[in-house]
Every structure is written in C-alpha cells, then in structure tokens.
C-alpha cells in the first residue's frame, strides 16, 4: 500500500511537470508532437529508474560533499548507455529521438529525484519512485505534445484530423509550448482542487 502511494504520487499529486514544474526544458522543447513526448518520457523513465536504483545502492559509500558530481556521473553513464543501445538495436526510434537523448542528462528531474529521494530511501522505494515519477513525466509530455500537435498541425499521433492550414502554427513553435503548458496546468488544477 505504501509503495502504491509512492508510485502513484508521480501522476497527479506530485506530477513532475504539472505540479513540481521540474524538467521543463525537455517538456517544452521536445513536445511538438505526442509521439516525441511519449518517446522522451519513456527514455527518461528508464534513466530515472536506473539512476535511482544505483544511487540508493551506493548512497552509504559517497561522502556528502561529492554527492552531486557522483550522481551526475551515474546519470550521464545511463543516458549514454540508452543512446548507444537505442542506436544499435532500435535505429528507427533513434532517428526520431536521437536529438533529445543527451538532453536527459541535464533534466533536473533526474538529479532531483536522486538527491531528494533515492539518496534517503531504500532500493525498492527508490525504484518505485523512479518508475512513478518517470511515467508521470511521460504522461505529462504526451498530453502536452498531443495538445500542441492537435492545435498546431491538426494531427494526433500522426493521424490527420483536420488540414494543416487550419492549425495554429504558434503551437508548434516555442511560445505554443508555454501557452499549452499553462492551460494544461490550469485545467488540471481546476479538476483536482475543485
């Protein structure tokens, strides 16, 4: 039961994008379509789970003052592993996401969870926390990507719903990310705090 709360908090109560407002650089940058958002979210989830796992295992071994550099090295290692493995075994996916993978290193969500959660909790809780937060992040990115894709180019997951000329180009561009995110947060706040 405790682990379930631990897992589910990432979706609404402590959603990284909508509530904690963490990791906004990739959230705003890559969400020009739903599929980009989903791919980025899942890749981040993997890194988050692995980094949380390793950090919680080695937490007793790391002196307080060098913990941040240590965590960064762990995270960067997993990101590079994801990048190389994806390039080797899923070239099609890599083609679509390759540009974004190195960005995961600088996602403060990953470092934030390592520092705020994994370095203080045991292995199981850390892995569960990583999975919950990661999937919550993926969900938020997919929603934001879906909204931008729908309004910007009239498509959803690549299925054409209305002609592109009727779309609002601003949603595909950077300002659309901010506008879309703002309205999504407003809607979610209305729904959860009603």
């Amino acid at each position: 039961m405790k682990q379930w709360t631990n897992f589910s908090k990432g979706f609404f109560k402590e959603n990284p994008v909508f509530i904690l407002l963490l990791g906004l650089c990739p959230a705003l940058g890559v969400t020009s379509s739903a599929i980009n958002g989903l791919g980025m979210g899942l890749a981040t989830t993997f890194v988050l789970v692995m980094a949380n796992m390793v950090v919680s295992l080695i937490k007793g071994f790391i002196p307080e003052k060098v913990r941040i550099p240590s965590f960064i090295v762990v995270i960067a290692t997993f990101v590079t592993i994801v990048e190389m493995t994806m390039q080797a075994y899923a070239p099609a996916l890599f083609e679509a996401l390759g540009l974004f993978i190195p960005l995961i290193v600088v996602n403060c969500l990953v470092l934030g969870r390592a520092e705020a959660f994994a370095s203080k909790n045991n292995l199981v809780s850390s892995v569960v926390d990583g999975a919950g937060m990661g999937l919550g992040f993926a969900m938020a990115l997919t929603m934001l990507g879906g909204v931008r894709e729908l309004f910007g180019s009239g498509q959803l997951f690549g299925f054409v719903l209305f002609p592109e000329e009727y779309g609002m180009l601003v949603f595909v561009l950077a300002p659309g990310a901010f506008i879309g995110l703002g309205y999504l947060i407003a809607v979610l706040n209305r729904l959860t705090k009603a």
Partner: protein, 229 residues
C-alpha cells in the same frame, strides 16, 4: 548506513572509483554496440540508395567513388547500373547552411541531373519544423500527411490539392529549374516557418547536381588531371 566522512582522500577515492566504473561500463557497451550501429548505418545507406535510384543490378556500394565539391565537401557517389548501362546515381550530399549542424541527404539523379528521389540521412534541425523536409519536397500524393484527412469533407477541399507541385523537387532538373526557395526568387515553396532548413536542403541538392555534372566534364577532359589522384 553511516555516511562516510567528507575528507579529501575519501572524496578523491570515491570519485575515482565512480568515474572508473562508469568509464569501464561505457567502454564495454561501446564495444558491444559498435558493430550493430555500423551495420544499421550501412543498412540505412543501402535502403536509401534503393529508394532514390531506378532499378539496378550492380552493387553501387562496391563502385562508390568520391567527388569534391567547390565548397570542399566530399560527396559519395553510388552509380546505379542496369545491364552495364548507367541509369542514375545516388549521391550522398550535404549542406552547412542548415539551422544547426550539417544536413546530409541521399539524392538520386539521372545521368542528366534530374532529381529522381531523395532521402534525408542526418540533420540537427528543429523537431516539428525543419524535420518536415523528410516529406515536404516530395509530390503530395506520396506524402502520407497530405492524404486521407478525416475531416476533409467538413472543410470542402480535396486531399492534397494545395502546394503539391511547387513544393516538390522530384522530377525537376536543377539545370532548368531554379532550386531556390521562393523568397530568394526560386521556384520551390519553402517549409512553413523553416525557410533556413529549406534553403539548406535545396543547397545540398544543388551541390550534388553541380558536382556530379562537373565530374562528367572532368572525366571527358581527364587526361591532363591524372596527377590529382
């Protein structure tokens, strides 16, 4: 578990161990994935060649040769032959004029330089804008995003009747069509909100055309340029 003291030796030892383990595991993964990565790159190259030239029965990768463009780019030329006769060439061309980084395109040209088809191999353009060049410059009936719109009847227009030809580069010869975006006085519609990418894309095709046809001139008068080899 008690935290270890933050003394200098402790910190140095910890960081050395962590970076050594990280470096070691990355080296291992690199070794493991090196061959598959090279293979998939080669497969993509093969697939791109087959897509951009007419049917052939030779091995273009085997007969590949390199040309240097005026800009100093090294272009790889994969000649496609059917029954010993040249039917076209797939040319790996590039442009440095993109929004960020080089754009690398495999473009198929007939022997007289008409564009048969193209495939974007590598780029660092803006996702959602510049990335549209994958399909943008092809005729609209080949472009998946231009057909089968669910709500088309609602808006009273038929699928893909706009743009179409003025966007496409396929079947056009850079020798008699201005391979420039409309803003520069050319004949090709640029990608909406990605004019720089469009410019670079057309530049890459123009480089391939110019260099490839120059090669023919050079080859006909090649007797005195043997020392270039």
């Amino acid at each position: 578990m008690a935290k270890r003291e933050s003394t200098l030796p402790n910190m140095v030892i910890t960081l050395v161990i962590i970076t050594a383990v990280a470096g070691g595991s990355l080296g291992l993964i690199y070794q493991l994935t090196k061959t598959p990565i090279e293979m998939s790159a080669e497969e993509r190259q093969q697939a791109a060649i087959q897509l951009v030239v007419p049917e052939f029965d030779n091995d273009p990768a085997e007969e590949m040769y390199e040309l240097t463009s005026d800009e100093g780019f090294i272009l790889k030329v994969f000649p496609a032959k059917k029954d010993g006769e040249l039917v076209g060439a797939a040319i790996e061309t590039r442009s440095h004029m993109g929004f960020s980084g080089d754009i690398i395109i495999m473009v198929g040209l007939t022997p007289d330089g008409t564009v048969i088809d193209y495939q974007v191999l590598d780029h660092r353009e803006t996702p959602g804008l510049g990335t549209k060049m994958d399909d943008w410059f092809k005729p609209s009936d080949k472009d998946g995003s231009q057909e089968g719109r669910l709500l088309d009847p609602l808006f009273g227009i038929s699928a893909g009747d706009e743009g179409g030809d003025s966007r496409s580069v396929i079947g056009k010869n850079p020798g008699d069509t201005d391979m420039l975006v409309e803003q520069d006085g050319g004949a090709i519609d640029a990608i909406t909100a990605a004019t720089i990418t469009s410019r670079a894309f057309l530049h890459a095709i123009e480089v391939a055309y110019r260099t490839y046809l120059d090669r023919d001139d050079a080859a006909s008068g090649a007797t005195d340029s043997g020392d270039w080899e």
